[in-house]
Symmetry: C2
């Protein structure tokens, strides 16, 4: 079996035989970005959907005020991509960057299409991944609209304890939409 | 063909033959809520995924400050559901309410499962729907984090001109996370 981590993850959600697993062979491109390496830049097409075997990635753009706005993180067993660029085949507005030396599996749209007929249940797995990502994104909207910075920080820390340790505080602040005031208070506490 | 609106929508995204369309028969339950009718309440399981043929729906919850927080709208050709309850089979925290007399097609998880084997391309259609919904949700996070109330209102109006006419201003304010100050300013301008 070529992709044990991915197959193990698929099996958390759907039935997936050894035979199914064999059909994935050569449909993913291994990508091993070093820390800080960029896999996507504004103006480029997103190459596909990345499954994270190991490491940590972030998707961000630079807003009008020239600050980095992080829209997604990806750690082990998460998928990360600029889905907007991927779906519409339009150039991206984002950077996709490794925050640690990482190991990824890239599924290009071409290889994805090749899997549809021989492996229809893989589409069910992907549908569930998108459904989960949608739930997470909608929950994030709720947190931003309904919780104070302090509540949001506590909630996120409880839901993602391992994550908090791996990502610099200022990136978390960008992701969670903290005010600069709250960010300096966290920093002051840490010091 | 039993569901012409749905089939027309599916064909915008994937190839879908007459034979495919016939296989959908009896897998959807027509639901026709009257204006203000609730199809889901907190504590209940979400019955499935609703495709909107006609009308307008909203998904919302009541937050700690006892105000309604709208998380999703659904108009013609949109799908709406509490995906969290649907995926996890846990009781919902949401209300799903008709804002107009509406016509929907309900896809229950049981009927969805029945379609997987005979109609694998329907799963591709749903995967694309979730991918689009994810892109929209992530864009909404960006708007909330990066734009002022005024910019957000203008952006949303430009992207959804028809929608602005159909939904009461205070609901739009809830969805877009406006400050009460900004909402009263819009109201004053209208008056």
């Amino acid at each position: 079996m070529m992709y044990p981590e991915l197959v193990a993850h698929i099996r958390r959600f759907i039935e997936f035989s050894e035979e199914d697993a064999e059909k994935l062979a050569n449909c993913f491109i291994p990508v091993k970005p070093k820390k800080k390496e960029l896999l996507l830049e504004p103006g480029k097409l997103c190459k596909g959907n990345y499954f994270v075997i190991k490491g940590c990635m972030r998707l961000y753009f630079v807003n009008d005020k020239l600050t980095e706005q992080i829209t997604q993180f990806g750690i082990e067993n998460w998928w990360i991509a600029d889905n907007d660029s991927l779906l519409s085949r339009k150039p991206s507005r984002y950077y996709l960057q490794a925050l640690e030396d990482s190991e990824l599996l890239l599924l290009t749209p071409q290889n994805h299409n090749k899997l549809l007929t021989p492996l229809p249940n893989f589409e069910t797995y992907l549908r569930i991944m998108y459904e989960k990502a949608l739930v997470a994104s909608q929950r994030r909207v709720e947190f931003i609209l309904c919780l104070t910075d302090e509540e949001r920080y506590r909630m996120f820390s409880e839901l993602n304890p391992a994550f908090i340790q791996r990502v610099p505080q200022y990136m978390l602040a960008s992701y969670l939409g903290f005010t600069p005031q709250f960010l300096s208070r966290i920093r002051a506490k840490k010091a």
